[in-house]
């Protein structure tokens, strides 16, 4: 019993530590990649080729003055909101398998846990928007929470197709079912589901082209306009955490998890990381290229396009399962 707790604690610490490092370097990668796409260099001063930039950013944000505006609705809620976002994003890490033997808790309802946690993260957004007691953050919080709730439905429906094909909600079972299936990855038979999931994931994490709630030119950072210093850093971390968790989920459910054409001895997580990095690059690429949707078009896309597509996907999967 104690050994089990100790092992879980160790695994979770390792996982959280490595993910935090990934999050920090995803911010660096984003700035570098977007810079090169825009014909300029990204950060290249701090450390060789700018590699120490995230550390410099974290140090700067930690040493800033902690400002709480005097008109906040309730300082307790104001301080609590970034933690809710961060914790909700990070808790999903506990159930995602990196390779066959490494998962912090092997729960039979892992997919449901992840969906529930992403719903919880919208709490942080609403609380931040309301507690800041400023017009821009209020508008931003409302928009963000409505957007997150709408796109969650599309995401969940897209995942239903995967559950139907694999027959279980346990993520390890899903990956094993993928490896045994003739296509090796579920992205091919579930192509519509994969597309819907990726679009919904971009909308869940409030990234371009769905980042109207926090768009600079329209609402000056939306729901976290009043946050500064380390609290702002926590929101920022929560956004990238969400991004990485969504990418991990996509890799596990649609791209075959840790499966690869050839095994590399000693590095069992290699293929998982390759697929993860590819999806993160895709997120960053989309941000550099596309303009932003207007809010009503965004909601229209979620409700009128993605949900019907996901339902169609379920119907087709059901038919295939029955007939084949």
């Amino acid at each position: 019993m104690l050994k089990y707790i100790g092992l879980s604690l160790f695994k979770s610490l390792v996982l959280v530590g490595i993910t935090l490092l990934h999050v920090a370097y995803t911010t660096y990668a984003e700035r570098k990649i977007i810079g090169h796409m825009q014909q300029r260099l990204g950060p290249n001063r701090v450390g060789p080729r700018g590699l120490l930039q995230p550390i410099a950013d974290v140090l700067k944000l930690i040493t800033k003055e902690d400002i709480i505006p005097s008109c906040v609705d309730s300082p307790g809620v104001f301080k609590l909101a970034p933690f809710i976002s961060l914790v909700a994003g990070a808790t999903s890490l506990a159930v995602i398998p990196i390779w066959e033997n490494f998962v912090v808790t092997n729960v039979n309802m892992a997919l449901l846990v992840v969906l529930a946690m992403s719903s919880l993260s919208s709490f942080g957004v609403i609380l931040a928007g309301w507690a800041s007691n400023s017009r821009y953050s209020f508008l931003g919080g409302l928009r963000a929470s409505a957007q997150v709730i709408s796109y969650e439905i599309a995401m969940a429906l897209a995942l239903v197709g995967v559950i139907m094909l694999a027959g279980s909600m346990n993520l390890i079972e899903i990956v094993k079912a993928q490896i045994e299936s003739p296509f090796k990855i579920y992205a091919i038979p579930q192509i519509i589901g994969f597309f819907v999931f990726m679009v919904a994931a971009i909308a869940e994490t409030n990234r371009t082209p769905f980042d109207l709630p926090e768009a600079e030119s329209e609402l000056v950072a939306g729901y976290f306009v009043e946050y500064s210093g380390i609290r702002f850093a926590l929101f920022y971390l929560a956004e990238y955490f969400g991004m990485i968790v969504m990418c991990m989920l996509a890799v596990v459910c649609f791209l075959g998890g840790w499966y690869g054409p050839f095994e590399i001895p000693g590095v069992p997580m290699f293929w998982f990381l390759v697929k993860l990095y590819f999806l993160i690059f895709f997120y960053i690429w989309v941000r550099a290229t596309l303009p932003r949707y207007r809010y009503d078009q965004l909601m229209g896309l979620g409700w009128k396009v993605l949900i019907p597509l996901a339902l169609l996907n379920i119907v087709i999967t059901g038919l295939i399962k029955v007939l084949v």
Binding site: S70, C71, N133, S134, R135, F138
Partner: protein, 204 residues
Amino acid sequence: MLALEKLQEKFPEEIIETGESAGQTYVVVKREKIFDILKFLHESGELLFDHLADLTAVDWHKKKTPRFEVVYNLYSIRYKQFLRIKAQVPEEDPIITSVTPIWKVANWFEREVYDMFGIVFDGHPDLRRLLMPEDWEGFPLRKDYPLFLSPEKEWQGLVELKEKARRLAPFDWYQRVPGEVKEEEMKEPEEEKVAEGEGHGASA
């Protein structure tokens, strides 16, 4: 010029003088029927002055007797004709009819003329100051308004701002305001605090 002839035919007693300056015709009129004159120019079939290029005022302080002149620069896009109408406005009674019903662009032009010269436009939907702050006193572009304001006549908003900066200077990184600020001056005055403390969503 066709416009000039038509004007002389229709409003002969309103025109005070006509002339030409740098190749552009101008007509000086009295201010009473300016609305009818401009409406005629805007709607008449052969003239069609649909583009009000500019509406401004000139202050002839001590040079000419009706002190102000409101100048309308009109252009007809279709017939490529340019005309300038100048309406004389005396100093004691600086009121003239607004032409906002004819051209919507006159709205802000007239607000600026009111702001800078003090000429009131009768019938304007929303006459208030445009470029200067709402509580400014005086009309800047008049010739008797100085270029630099003396320190006694400084705008109240600037005085308050300087006072606030002086009071908050001790909290700055380095001493910007020479001399010391005493203890009791560092506290904010009482009424200001009450006004700022309340207000759920009232601050924008």
